[in-house]
């Protein structure tokens, strides 16, 4: 099982930013200067938590809260 703080920690490590900057309503696009970095971050999170996502899973993900919720729910479903 993973929790939302673990997902936030991983995002913060990847982006080299303090976790405190990652509020649930923080938009993902505001955290990165290029969309490529967002793609790389999503892959890093999947590797870190041993999960596999497809593009369809990401279609409604706009904020840090959306992303943490997705990973927590997928990890729950996989366990």
């Amino acid at each position: 099982m993973i929790d939302k703080n673990a997902v936030k920690e991983q995002i913060a490590t990847f982006l080299k930013q303090p976790v405190s900057r990652l509020q649930d309503d923080t938009s993902l696009t505001s955290l990165v200067v290029e969309s490529f970095i967002l793609v790389e971050m999503i892959i890093d999170l999947q590797d870190a938590f041993g999960l596999r996502l497809v593009q369809e899973d990401m279609k409604d993900v706009k904020t840090v809260g959306d992303l943490t919720k997705l990973f927590v729910s997928r990890a729950g479903a996989a366990s």
């Binding site: 490529f36 970095i37 999503i42 892959i43 999947q46």
Partner: protein, 182 residues
């Protein structure tokens, strides 16, 4: 000498090659060692070399490249949505590379093309064909993991996005690109 539209087009090519190189470079760094990482490493070194070819070409023609804020790849990610796994990344890249070969091929057939531009296109197109081949092979190897059906559907979705991006690009830069579609 280059006119304003030609300079913009060559600078657009250059900018897209830089973006492609940076993306694959970052991705390759985070991948596990293996055949895909090996070929991706060559791919991003090719793209970086292509950017250098375009810079040299523009300079040989007596101009300086224009710094452009967005690349063709950015428009792809907006139209198709960001890919979420390696298969989707390779899928969108396959579609993108085919578009590049098509575009460069069309450009190289312009009747009054400058020989310096022609040579640059010829050098780059040889590499781009290999890019399409290695990605095709890598996607084939991914079939047991992702299923052929999912890969085919993904490619189809990206082809549709490609049509949309190409149409919008041609519309948005109609004046700059019209000499390429005569």
């Amino acid at each position: 000498m280059l006119d304003e539209n030609e300079l913009w087009v060559l600078s657009f090519y250059r900018s897209s090659e830089i973006s492609g190189s940076l993306f694959f470079g970052r991705l390759a760094r985070s991948m596990k060692p293996g055949a895909i990482q090996r070929d991706m490493t060559k791919h991003f070194s090719d793209e970086a070399a292509h950017a250098w070819y375009w810079t040299s070409c523009i300079e040989e023609l007596g101009a300086k490249p224009i710094k452009l804020s967005s690349s063709y790849q950015d428009q792809y990610l907006t139209a198709a949505g960001p890919p979420s796994n390696l298969m989707e990344i390779l899928g969108i890249t396959q579609v993108f590379e085919k578009r590049v070969v098509n575009q460069y091929g069309r450009h190289s057939q312009l009747p009054e093309i400058n020989p310096i531009v022609q040579n640059t296109l010829t050098k780059i197109m040889a590499d781009e064909k290999w890019h399409i081949e290695w990605i095709h092979d890598a996607l084939k190897l991914m079939e047991p993991e992702y299923s052929k059906d999912l890969i085919d559907k993904t490619l189809k979705r990206f082809w549709e996005a490609d049509q949309e991006v190409y149409r919008k690009t041609m519309q948005e830069h109609e004046q700059r690109l019209k000499y390429l579609v005569k």
